[in-house]
């Protein structure tokens, strides 16, 4: 193993490169990214960075000097155009080609755009994935009085909160019957809806956008029930799709993402995938996550597999979201139909515990870091606390944690 090429200079690509070096790989590592920036954090794009509280440089995951020090050949502003599997080489948009012994696809996901017939070529409509998306939108936002967010998912709701913080009028439209779609329970969706309404965000839930208004520049939207909303800027947060085109063109197997086994290997044994673009086929089903934690973990899994030192992938799903003064922390994987147990700690601090077939499957903690930490640990250990104890605010969470663990050791 002499040459490792990583396509995609994002969270997962960097994590893989860093782990390869940390584990003593001495060959060449080339990290190729088509964005201008060196690998950076995306979560602040819809939080502190959008508010203007953070310099671009502080988004970087590593200072530029790190790449020289660790002999990682970082090439930004270039895309990989094709993969030649037989020749084990990739061609770049600048015409160069590179051969590889192992290839890692860490191409991420892209924001779903509004359908073209809705959009109709209007300006003032933005999706958010890259730092450049924020830079493009910022001057418009500075001049705007009002914003319409289409899509009540995490990114859309964070953007709505920031826009309110900037003093703008904000409407959020969500076509589904509740915010946060399938990922959150009714209790979490309701608590978040209440928070946004308290802060003056106008929510339109269960309403689709039937058309945008404005000739060339968007001026607002009309909803299914006839409501008209005016907006200077429209932000579209309707989910993301894994970037699979390059892998598809190379004939690799694709499912809901680039299909890999538990070691991160695609249908070509010299090619791996990690992060948002990868769909892991695990014993209990296919799994594709879009989160920082998953990008870091799978990047490291792939590094371990390439060096034949890794143990494969054990998912540890978790996520956080900051909206107004709410800190939401989520662990595990919720599914529709889970039984929800509500724990109210103090005013504004609550947690929702998801039980499936009597087993703790996930937790949403709203301003409840202790509950989050306990829930996360129990889920990782496959332990289930007594629902009655969880629902009882007078039972300290620490006691519940200790009792649940003690019950295991007593078995």
């Amino acid at each position: 193993m002499k040459q490792i090429v990583i396509i995609g200079a994002g969270q997962a690509g960097l994590s893989c490169a860093a782990k390869l070096r940390a584990d003593g790989f001495e060959g060449e590592i080339t990290l190729i990214g088509n964005e201008k920036d060196a690998p950076y954090q995306r979560p602040p794009l819809s939080k502190a960075y959008l508010l203007g509280n953070l310099d671009a440089e502080r988004l970087l995951l590593r200072p530029l000097t790190w790449y020289d020090q660790h002999q990682v050949d970082l090439r930004t502003g270039v895309a990989v155009a094709t993969i030649d599997r037989a020749g084990k080489a990739v061609t770049l948009s600048d015409g160069k080609s590179l051969s590889y012994d192992a290839l890692v696809l860490a191409t991420g996901a892209e924001a779903r755009p509004l359908p073209e017939d809705l959009l109709g070529g209007r300006s003032g409509v933005h999706t958010i994935r890259d730092r450049s998306d924020i830079e493009m939108m910022r001057p418009e936002l500075d001049a705007a009085q009002s914003v319409l967010v289409i899509g009540g998912g995490y990114i859309g709701l964070e953007m709505a909160a920031v826009a309110r913080g900037l003093g703008l009028g904000v409407n959020v439209v969500e076509a589904a019957p509740a915010l946060l779609g399938r990922v959150a329970c009714r209790e979490t969706a309701a608590a978040i809806a209440e928070l946004h309404e308290e802060r003056g965000v106008r929510l339109h839930i269960g309403q689709g956008v039937t058309e945008l208004t404005g000739e060339t520049q968007v001026t607002g939207a009309r909803l299914a029930d006839g409501t008209e909303i005016s907006a200077d800027v429209v932000i579209v947060g309707i989910g993301a799709a894994p970037r699979t085109a390059l892998a598809e063109a190379a004939g690799l197997d694709i499912a809901n993402g680039i299909l890999v086994d538990a070691t991160g290997r695609t249908s070509d044994p010299a090619i791996y995938a990690a992060g948002d673009c990868a769909c892991y086929r695990l014993p209990d089903g296919d799994l594709r996550l879009e989160s920082v934690g998953n990008a870091i973990d799978t990047g490291e899994v792939v590094a371990g597999s390439i060096l034949e030192s890794g143990a494969g992938y054990t998912p540890k799903p978790w996520f956080w979201s900051d909206q107004f003064d709410l800190k939401l922390q989520i662990a595990g994987r919720a599914q529709p139909g889970d039984m929800i147990v509500v724990r109210i700690s103090t005013i504004g601090a609550r947690s929702h515990w998801y039980y499936r077939d009597g087993v703790l499957a996930a937790i949403d903690a709203l301003n409840s870091p202790r509950a989050y930490q306990v829930g996360r640990k129990l889920i990782l250990d496959g332990l289930t606390p007594d629902p009655g104890a969880i629902a009882d605010p007078h039972r300290p969470i620490k006691d519940i944690f200790n009792e649940t663990r003690a019950a295991l050791f007593a078995r």
Binding site: Q41, R62, P63, W66, K327, P369, Q373, V374
Partner: protein
């Protein structure tokens, strides 16, 4: 230049130059200190930036906020007297030369 020595979980040392006013986590992560994963990038949401400070530095800083306290109570590496989330600690010139330990989970 403010130089801080990190003792990594395996006992090895790493000298890191830190910028005044930035967080201790940013200094450690930028240098690739082992054990500082900092998944949430400083939102105090992950506790993967847990460090143990020298007593006098810890005392000087004043008490952490409640959210940080709660995260530390159940951090993967058991909390110690001078534990902090490094993303919540701002680097100041008087930290030059201190030794910070990354605890083992």
């Amino acid at each position: 230049m403010i130089t801080i020595k990190f003792i990594q979980p395996d006992g090895s040392e790493k000298l890191v130059s830190a910028m005044n006013g930035r967080s201790l986590m940013e200094a450690a992560q930028g240098a690739g200190v082992v054990g500082i994963v900092a998944e949430c990038g400083g939102s105090a949401a992950c506790a993967t930036c847990h460090v143990v400070l020298p007593q006098e530095v810890f005392d000087r800083l004043g008490a952490p906020e409640e959210h940080e306290e709660d995260m530390l109570d159940f951090a993967d590496a058991p909390r110690q007297t001078c534990s902090r989330l490094s993303c919540q600690v701002r680097v100041t010139p008087d930290m030059d030369g201190i030794i910070v330990r990354v605890p083992t989970a």
